[in-house]
Each structure stands twice: as C-alpha cells, then as structure tokens.
C-alpha cells in the first residue's frame, strides 16, 4: 500500500480556525500518511513559539454559541478575551486538546511545517518568532508536494 499524502494550506489565525489543520494533520500522521502544512497570512500565527495570542472573537460571528448580546456589546475591548477564555475553558472541560498539544503531536509525527516566505516578510516576522524545525518556501515549494497528494485542503 503506497503511503498516502496530504497537503494543507493554513491561512487563518483565529482559535476555531487553528484547530482543523492541526487535527487533520496529526490524525493523518497517525494513519501513516505523509503530511505537509503550508502556513500563510494569518496561519503563520500557528507557528509562533507562544500560541497564547490566538483568540476567538464573538464579533461578526453570529453562529458562535454564546449568550445573546447586542453587537455594540460584542465590540467592547474585553469581549474577545472573555470569549476566548470561555471557549478554552469549555474545550478543556470536554477533553479537547490544546493547540500546543496538537502542534507538538504533529511535530513528533514528522508533519512538515512550511512558512510562506512572502507573508513572513510582509508581516516582518523573524525566524526567531517561530518554533524550530520549520522550512521556508513559496507557492512552487507547496505545489511540488501538493501535486503528488491524495488530499489537498485550503483552510
């Protein structure tokens, strides 16, 4: 049985959108698949040494199951922190892994992380902002691997 392959483009840096790439990558690696994630734009946040800055916002997020509140209240400066705290507490209670744990599981299982060089430069990130062991590349680097995959996702 040939090894299956999966490529993911991770473009989002909000808490809820940070999960799918890491969940799928860690699971695919557990199934013996070869996996690469290409992090670009806000997805680069998932490569930072500390993931504490990753949050969820109730603003413009009408599907988020939170107590009903007017938009003006959702705009209050502290609401993002409150929503993030509530979400993280709920996740912990339900046994959902933290982003740090999932990322560690990916690294341990040899999932290859590639940071998009263009957006790294765009946002003035330094290599020292990110975890060790990642590679830097562009669209051609991603497509070289993506062209040989069984599953290819844009998240």
């Amino acid at each position: 049985m040939a090894t299956k392959k999966m490529a993911i483009i991770a473009t989002k840096g909000a808490l809820d959108m940070a999960y799918p790439p890491l969940i799928l990558a860690s699971t695919a690696a557990a199934l013996g698949w070869e996996v690469q994630i290409f992090f670009t734009f806000y997805g680069l946040q998932l490569l930072r040494k500390s993931l504490k800055g990753i949050r969820i916002s109730p603003l413009a997020n009408p599907a988020m199951p939170m107590p009903t509140m007017p938009v003006l209240l959702k705009m209050m400066p502290s609401m993002e922190a409150v929503a993030t705290k509530m979400m993280k507490a709920k996740m912990k209670k339900k046994g959902v892994a933290s982003l740090e744990e999932l990322r560690d599981l990916c690294v341990e299982a040899d999932v290859k992380f590639i940071a998009c060089q263009m957006t790294v430069d765009l946002f003035d990130f330094k290599k020292s902002d990110f975890i060790d062991g990642i590679e830097y590349g562009g669209a051609a680097t991603f497509l070289k691997f993506a062209g040989e995959t069984d599953v290819c996702l844009f998240i």
Binding site: S26, A30, K94, G95, A97, L105
Partner: protein, 75 residues
C-alpha cells in the same frame, strides 16, 4: 480477552483517542494486543477507520459502563 498493554483515553476528544492510540502502539511488537478504553462516541467509527487504514486489526469492540472498549492487534 488477553492483552499486552492498555491505553485509557477516557475524557479525551477527537483526535486524541486515535493519535494517542497510535503512539501507544509504537513501542509494541507485531502481534501484541492493545486494549483501548474511550468515552468519545466518535471513536467507535474512528477506531475502525484507523484499523482499516493502518493494518492493525480491530479484534473486538464493545461497550462497558458507557465506555467504549477496543482490542487492537498490532500489524
């Protein structure tokens, strides 16, 4: 059923029961049996899919005291 090792995934949500089952299998030898206990209802389908794709054989799956119990034979 006899088993060589046990992994308790109680309280863990997707994808941890599967990812950690794989980790538990890593240091076992071919033919040995791993008993996994989970409370995640999703793990019933997931464990079957894991077994099918990795070649590890799902010998038995049952429910005990609202927990899901799996016996996996390492490929």
């Amino acid at each position: 059923m006899n088993f060589d090792k046990e992994f308790d995934a109680s309280g863990l949500a997707c994808p941890l029961p599967i990812v950690k089952t794989k980790k538990a299998l890593n240091d076992m030898s071919s033919g040995q049996v791993l008993r996994v206990v989970s409370t995640d209802p999703g793990s019933v389908c997931d464990m079957a899919a894991f077994a099918e794709q990795t070649g590890n054989q799902l010998l038995e799956q049952s429910t005990e005291n609202k927990k899901f119990v799996f016996f996996l034979k390492k490929a």
